[in-house]
Symmetry: C2
Subunit: 321 residues, 2 copies
């Protein structure tokens, strides 16, 4: 193996990584296999705690540590019923980097930092980004409307959100949502981000634990094949299928929170992403699925991001005169 290339940003410095590519900690897709592969390639691999019971999370952390000596992280969605136990496991296992989302940054940032972790929190608007900074986070993930899975209610896109967050906070900003290749990484860094978080592209990787049928569906998706739905429960971006269409139709007919929560039920995310039920399962994925054309090893995805990034920067026209 040739030695890893290096990009120097505040995020590579903060996390101690080679490239400012953070793999999203997607439920049902991001176990230790994916996280360690991304970290080995010089990015930041992230284990998604949101679909792992605490004992299983501990196992994934230990396996990741066996598979790589490089830094990796854990993502904890705070709406997850085992969020508090997941935080305890991360502290107990001395996980170096924790990304929290879908809840208040005040809740665990202090404890995690006291335990020695570097902490980032996901923000869908400027006000929450400022709250993150006040809560003491080391970085903010500015995540746009195009992102897969759970989403904010403000519908701010990555292109619009990132520069406003960059202007509002002093800590480094990681752009998330719609980052499918190195061109988008160049775009995000041009907006002032110090790194990117990439979810959808890594769902369709060799090491992702997504069901093969779900990976194939991501590869086959066209540009218009996702929808943000269940806005009155928790907005979530899904690949369009029978379930998503039903949810959308009920929502359009004026269904309230209770009806939609009942329709959603429990276990649909597992049914879709882990078990491969492409019609009745919940298939969380970003808009950028339309750009994904093949399943690749995670390390190869990282290497292509770098090459595409360099090519994109090289094509930018100069201002003459």
């Amino acid at each position: 193996m040739e030695p890893l290339k290096l990009m120097d940003t505040r995020i590579t410095q903060l996390f101690g990584i080679r490239h400012p590519i953070i793999q999203g900690g997607m439920v049902w897709c991001a176990g230790w296999q994916l996280a360690s592969a991304v970290s080995e390639a010089g990015g930041l691999g992230v284990i998604g705690a949101g679909s792992l019971r605490p004992d299983l999370l501990r196992e994934h952390i230990r396996n990741a540590r066996r598979a790589t000596t490089r830094p990796f992280g854990v993502n904890i969605p705070l709406l997850y019923k085992y969020a508090s136990e997941s935080v305890a496991v991360c502290l107990d296992e001395r996980v170096g980097i924790v990304i929290t989302s879908a809840g208040s940054p005040k809740k665990y940032t202090g404890d995690l930092k006291a335990g020695g972790a570097v902490v980032a929190h996901v923000a869908p608007n400027v006000a929450l980004a400022c709250k993150c900074e006040t809560a003491g986070v080391d970085a903010v993930v500015a995540e746009g409307f195009e992102a897969g899975g759970h989403n904010g209610v403000d519908e701010l896109t990555t292109l619009v959100l990132v520069p406003q967050v960059v202007d509002a906070v002093r800590v480094p900003v990681i752009a998330a949502g719609g980052i499918g290749d190195g061109r988008a990484m160049a775009a995000a860094l041009a907006l002032g981000a110090d790194g990117v978080q990439v979810g959808t592209r890594f769902v369709a990787s060799l090491e992702s634990s997504a069901h093969p049928a779900f990976k194939a569906a991501v590869v086959g998706a066209a540009d218009t094949d996702t929808v943000l739905t269940l806005k009155r429960v928790t907005p979530v971006r899904l690949l369009k299928n029978a379930f998503a269409r039903t949810a959308q139709a009920r929502e359009a007919a004026g269904a309230g929170r209770d009806e939609l929560a009942t329709l959603l039920g429990t276990g649909r995310a597992r049914q879709g992403m882990a078990e491969g039920d492409l019609e009745e399962g919940e298939l969380e994925i970003g808009q950028v699925a339309g750009l994904v054309r093949e399943i690749l090893p995670a390390g190869e995805i990282v290497r292509r991001f770098l090459a595409e990034y360099e090519a994109a920067c090289g094509r930018l026209p100069a201002v003459a005169g």
Copy 2:
């Protein structure tokens, strides 16, 4: 005046302009005053035909020609009741550049090109971008969900849409939606676009014919102050006000197309943007309004875009090793 700087892209070549900055032809905001100011500064000024009766459009074209010898264009939304007459006026006046939107690119592209015009059409998804190319357009405007005013139904964001359109067509691509400063221009060009279309930023310009109260509201807007609504009539992005909130509430309660069309009525865009009724008028504006902090001369906006673009490109970290 110092001589204008130059950026060389397929769009500056196609339009014969100095910088790949196309001013959006916004209804009620983009008359000859704004268009000629942008063209004089080296971008492409565009007269918005969608709020001008044909005889008034002709007057604006003639006034623009008196005010600048540089190229300018006309934007014609094809859902406008005088669209066909507007096309006839452009042909008759030998307007060099016409941008059409909100309709089929097949309808007028042939006639306009036969009359000597360079033609671009607005596309919100990859399939329509391909149809534009087949129809013979010279460029495609790839416009994302964050854009102000009329919008597609697919909700694809600029960050996700632009690279997919760039991959799908051979003609040059102009990125639109969410381009509020030179950082976003650098982002769009990194994605592979050859130019950007800027609407919202120019609404809050000295030469914009928007009502002063509307300009002030744009300057005062926060990141979360716009909403895409009236999705069952024609989706439109508005500054949140009493009218937008009513429309949203009725939509959420399941109101159909007819009820929403009646609620909208006629003349609301004029009432809001031209007459300054900030509560009951329709205030078409992009998500990026949150980034706009002051009213500036259009030429100064163009110059700042260039400086911000250069700074953004200069900050992009290199890949070492």
